[in-house]
Symmetry: C2
Subunit: 324 residues, 2 copies
Amino acid sequence: MSDDRWGLGVDIGGTKIIIAHVAEGGNVLNQKIIPTNAQQGPLGVINHVIQEAHAIQSAARNNPMSIGIGMAGQILPEGIVEFAPNLGWHHVDLKGLISEALKIPVLILNDVRAATWGEWKFGAGKGFNDIVCLMIGTGIGGGAVIGGNLMTGANNAAGELGHFPVQLNGPKCTCGNLGCLESLAAGWAIAKQAKEAILHDSNRRGVFPGSENNDIDSITAKDVLLLAGKGDQTAMLIINNAIEAIVAGCIGYANVFNPSRLIIGGGLGLALPHLIERIEKGLKERALEAASEKLKVVPANLMQNAVAIGAADFALSSRATAFS
Amino acid sequence: MSDDRWGLGVDIGGTKIIIAHVAEGGNVLNQKIIPTNAQQGPLGVINHVIQEAHAIQSAARNNPMSIGIGMAGQILPEGIVEFAPNLGWHHVDLKGLISEALKIPVLILNDVRAATWGEWKFGAGKGFNDIVCLMIGTGIGGGAVIGGNLMTGANNAAGELGHFPVQLNGPKCTCGNLGCLESLAAGWAIAKQAKEAILHDSNRRGVFPGSENNDIDSITAKDVLLLAGKGDQTAMLIINNAIEAIVAGCIGYANVFNPSRLIIGGGLGLALPHLIERIEKGLKERALEAASEKLKVVPANLMQNAVAIGAADFALSSRATAFS
């Protein structure tokens, strides 16, 4: 393992793109962050990525072995972005376009799965064969490494840990199901509950930050968290219910996967008060002993570079193929 | 692959034990079924297994390569039966005792995981890299093969698919958690709901088969199923709720594992009316499209030999080690 062997890692997000020179050991030696400018459409965005990839390549002593790209959405096994809701992409041959331009092996994977791989290889899950990542933000995503292999599923779609129903006949989820973990605890679900609470009590208009001037639509989970921190009973109840749903989901994932580490990430996941302690308490009290006795709950630690590092390394680990 | 290479497969159940000569291709060429006689204690039961194993070995042309044993309970990675609730065993060194007597490599695994492996290798999941088995009986167990590997977990305890909570603050489960799939849909849970319905309505005493003479305790899920089949509204509601909980769990497992096959087994799983069709309908309407579009729900098909075949083959697949 030396710095000579390296890969490009790319994280294509809804608002920004990270393009990184990732050494084989996981270190980011150079990186560029650019705005996504999704309005330019797939070709515009991809050309921008290619241009910055060339720039990073030029600055390095030698050529990268491969490029790994993580992005939100449904990625077909052959590297086609079937649907990327953040960017409005449908059936974009991302692998083909990148492969043609860069002439190196290309691997495309879902961003949360890339982050899971990164956390397993270099971050909070390093050294363990079995880990589960739960990334809690606007939505809830996840991933698992099982016996040292990233769980990908039959259709490259495994790991949707936010879409396990934990409340029969619960609230409608964005996916169309009822009572998914995401529908109870994701950022959008917390904001939605706050909006509903305000609509049910006109005296509360203006009480939620962001809801002055009746601008209820602009309320975010962050507003609810802030208000809960100030002792507002409704906000506290909403946050507490979200945490309870997450704890229940984590008990389920401990029982199902029996991992060594349960990694909690995402902006909201890292901001919810005492979330890790609450999960650990729930596991101790209510998970199967055999499944949880050796399990530790830990925060994600690669932060904003997790996707780029994970994607680069997953490609480097000889899983990328050239010119599919 | 030839009949010359074979393994012993053993299924130690609460009431009976199956000991089988399993050829490398999964065929059972000879088998013996004996009563467990759990009251004889671990050594009595194990000696009986060893005796029958010797008998099957003597009847064969050559020696077995290995022995695989499946049984319900918590099996430590080193082959110790930490706890087997059906038999009342605590910390029994099953691998050590069998290994010493038979002088061949021994592998011990949980019975449902053994059946999952058997169904994957030779049964309803044959030919697919990713399958999930849900075995619905008195309890609900499960297992998964992911990317061609049996999911075992960090502590050999993975696959407790009956213990994912699908109803926040739902009924108390045998595991101590609330609202587990098992607490809503296992045989014991269905029987419990029927008993509660009778206790809440004294006019119903005698209506449930088995509940004549106030012998409420003897009601089983089978009684409830029979009565539902005759149109009893309460029984139908109980069965329907159980099926709805199973459907919700299956949607979750499709979203999480993205398997090619979801295999439904267990006496109750195969008896619940239209269960597979109900699950398929639920998946179509409420699972993520990417996770379920290629998924088929199928009944288990190795039946009573699944555990013995799976355990024998898992050991044969060079996963067994001698004299640990």
